[in-house]
């Protein structure tokens, strides 16, 4: 009998063991898959987990895990980001009408499907003077997925940030939206759609925004250069030719380079230059540079000053190896200078100056650790970007209070470069790889974080609302490299997906 049982037991075990082994493999995968799925519609406030940066939670109701379904705590009184606007009674100083269309672009003898603003890509440059109120009236004529306009680098009030599903609903075909903000910072900025932003920005739904200081600028020539790659074709201001900029000998020329692509770009010149501003903030006492390139990360801007050379010659500024600006008299040219081996180190460029706040004693400290690991995102298996070890949507929601001094440690262990972009704020670089900054205050809104690099950055939480804090390689953002910064007591009524199909990435 006992041997009979033993034999039967072995037989049962023989059938059961493979099934159990299969379950042991499939069940965790199924759980991970299920956990990675996002609801048909959700608020970014429900994403991931709250990170208070070392402070006690005082407003625990403002967020929570997407799958917790516990909304009982979410009843704390909150202000909506929609209230964060400029005085509606104040008349506009600069009024612009922008119409977006989905159409075919002619780039370098090729026809590419893309987007236009007022019939062109890039759209018209918007110029204003510091202190003026800019009012942009957006009408979406034919962009099927809907559009928004995000004012990249301008620390606008939260309701004007132009992020679909976070600060507004995407503007559908036939819809309209009016953006109003005061041009408080002088500098070089750009605007682009933040609805389905990966294909829409790549397809040209963008333009430049220049805010002149009240006192004016000291350069005689002032030109913007939007670097953009359309379907693999490098362009400056939408043309795949070199950009000629007429300048007389001795004239000071200000070149505002805007990198609208997904990857960092090198800029170098055949002549000496000064780097006047980075991301719309002036460098303090910039010195003359020769023989070094400037790295301009995705979304970033650099203002360079060169002098118009004499003797009928020209200065050439390379925006990558493929495109260039030629500055000088008509017809003059100069051979392409070789790409320098050294890069201008902004950690030590210019002279130190007061920051306006003390980052030595921050009220909040956050980590933004970028990794890459296998797993599921939105139900899809793959190697995905992680933030503090978590995959989208289970990523941190950084929580601050107005007036906080915030220090963020950004570390890239993902093997690839990431252009990190925090909305609504400028951050100052304190250190890179633990080496402290010694030059001019290096303020950025788009920071090039190379693989195996770390940055310590600081900012003052002075712009209440709900803000994206994401990779501006918009492909990476679409792959889930998106976290948010939220002020205690503020909430957004908008939802990702939903009836207007908001898809900010």
């Amino acid at each position: 009998m006992s041997s009979d049982f033993g034999r039967r037991g072995r037989r049962v075990l023989k059938v059961l063991l493979p099934i159990l082994a299969t379950v042991a493999i499939v069940a965790p995968l199924a759980w991970l898959w299920q956990d990675s799925r996002v609801p048909a519609s959700y608020s970014v406030m429900e994403m991931g987990y709250l990170d208070y940066g070392g402070r006690a939670a005082t407003d625990p109701g403002a967020g929570g895990h997407m799958h917790s379904h516990d909304h009982s705590k979410a009843s704390a009184p909150v202000r909506s980001v929609t209230n964060m606007i400029v005085d509606p009674a104040r008349p506009a100083d600069v009024r612009v009408d922008l119409v977006t269309r989905q159409e075919t672009l002619a780039i370098a003898d090729r026809s590419l499907s893309g987007f236009t603003i007022n019939g062109t890509s890039p759209g018209p440059e918007i110029r204003a003077t510091q202190g003026e109120l800019i009012e942009v009236h957006l009408r979406n004529e034919s962009v099927a997925d809907g559009v928004t306009l995000h004012w990249h680098g301008v620390d606008v009030p939260s309701a004007m940030d132009g992020v679909a599903g976070v600060t507004q609903d995407a503007v559908p075909v036939g819809g309209q939206f009016t953006y109003r903000f005061v041009a408080e910072q002088a500098g070089s900025f750009w605007y682009h759609s933040h609805q389905v932003s990966n294909p829409q920005v790549a397809g040209g739904l963008l333009g430049s925004l220049v805010i002149m200081p009240k006192s004016g600028i000291t350069q005689q020539v002032d030109v913007s250069a939007i670097a953009h790659t359309y379907g693999g074709v490098r362009t400056i201001n939408g043309k795949d030719d070199d950009l000629h900029v007429p300048a007389h000998p001795g004239e000071r020329v200000r070149v505002r380079v805007i990198n609208t692509d997904n990857g960092p770009m090198k800029i170098w010149s055949s002549g000496a230059y000064r780097l006047l501003a980075v991301d719309g903030t002036d460098v303090y006492r910039p010195t003359e540079v020769s023989g070094s390139s400037v790295t301009l990360t995705a979304g970033a801007r650099a203002d360079l000053e060169v002098r118009g050379p004499g003797n009928g010659e020209a200065v050439r500024i390379q925006l990558s190896k493929s495109s260039a600006m030629i500055i000088g008299p008509a017809g003059a040219d100069v051979p392409a200078p070789p790409q320098p081996d050294t890069d201008l180190d902004l950690l030590a460029y210019g002279s130190p100056a007061p920051l306006g706040f003390d980052p030595a004693h921050p009220t909040r400290r956050f980590d933004y650790l970028i990794g890459r690991r296998p797993g599921f995102v939105k139900g899809r298996p793959g190697m995905w970007w992680s933030i503090n070890g978590h995959l989208f949507p289970n990523v941190p929601m950084y929580v601050v209070r107005e007036g906080d001094v915030v220090v963020v440690h950004i570390e890239n262990r993902s093997g690839e470069v990431h252009p990190m972009h925090l909305h609504g704020h400028h951050v100052v670089v304190l250190a890179r790889n633990g080496v402290r900054a010694t030059g001019s205050p290096w303020w950025v809104d788009s920071l090039n974080v190379l693989a195996n690099q770390s940055y310590d950055v600081a900012f003052v939480a002075n712009n209440p609302g709900v803000w994206m804090d994401h990779c501006h390689n918009l492909k990476h953002a679409a792959q889930g490299m998106v976290a948010h910064l939220m002020y205690e007591g503020f909430a957004t009524p908008y939802r990702i997906a939903g009836p207007t199909d908001n898809q900010p990435e």
Binding site: K14, L17, P18, I19, A21, T22, I25, V26, R110, L112, S113, G114, N198, P199, A202, G203, A227, T229, Y230, G231, G232, V233, R234, N259, D261, N262, G263, P264, M265, K266, S320, K321, S322, R372, P374, P381, G382, M383, G415, E416, V417, A451, N452, N473, K475
Partner: protein
């Protein structure tokens, strides 16, 4: 189940061959494009829409095969191996699976440490050989397994 095991093992091997082919195809296309004046940098690599040269498709195929198709096949092979009842079938399915995981890690690591890319190439050969062996040994091992199962009955008590 044995047929499924063999088919999956050979499919893994075939996919490894495809991986090698599409990469060389892509690099050859890149070389031709650069020869004609094309410049490759991060912006071009990350640009959307129409690719600068058609052989970019090779890289896309490599990524999709490497991250999805081959790990999926290796996982299926592992699961099927539990049911084949052939001695060593599980062991070799595990070896194939582990080599696939190592291969994806080396591929990712190669972005950071290019030398890992060289090991990625070497590990591909190991994976190819192991997958072929796993499939072939099943045919040889199958009768042995049957003998194993019948042996107790044939032995007089």
């Amino acid at each position: 189940m044995k047929t499924a095991y063999k088919v999956l093992a050979y499919l893994v091997a075939a996919e490894v061959a495809v991986q090698a082919m599409v990469m060389v195809w892509a690099i050859a296309g890149l070389g031709k494009w650069v020869d004609a004046g094309g410049v490759l940098d991060k912006s071009i690599m990350e640009s959307e829409g129409t690719p600068p040269f058609p052989e970019v498709a090779g890289i896309m195929v490599h990524i999709n095969n490497g991250f999805f198709v081959i790990p999926g096949l290796a996982l299926l092979l592992l699961i099927i191996s539990f049911f084949t009842k052939v001695r060593g079938a599980i062991r070799w399915a595990v070896v194939v699976f582990v080599l696939v995981i190592v291969q994806t890690q080396l591929g990712g690591l190669g972005h950071d440490f290019p030398l890992a890319g060289a090991l990625h190439g070497l590990n591909a050969l190991a994976l190819f050989g192991t997958a072929i062996y796993a499939g072939r040994r099943l045919r040889a091992a199958a009768p042995a397994a049957v003998v194993d199962e019948q042996a107790p009955a044939a032995t007089p008590v």
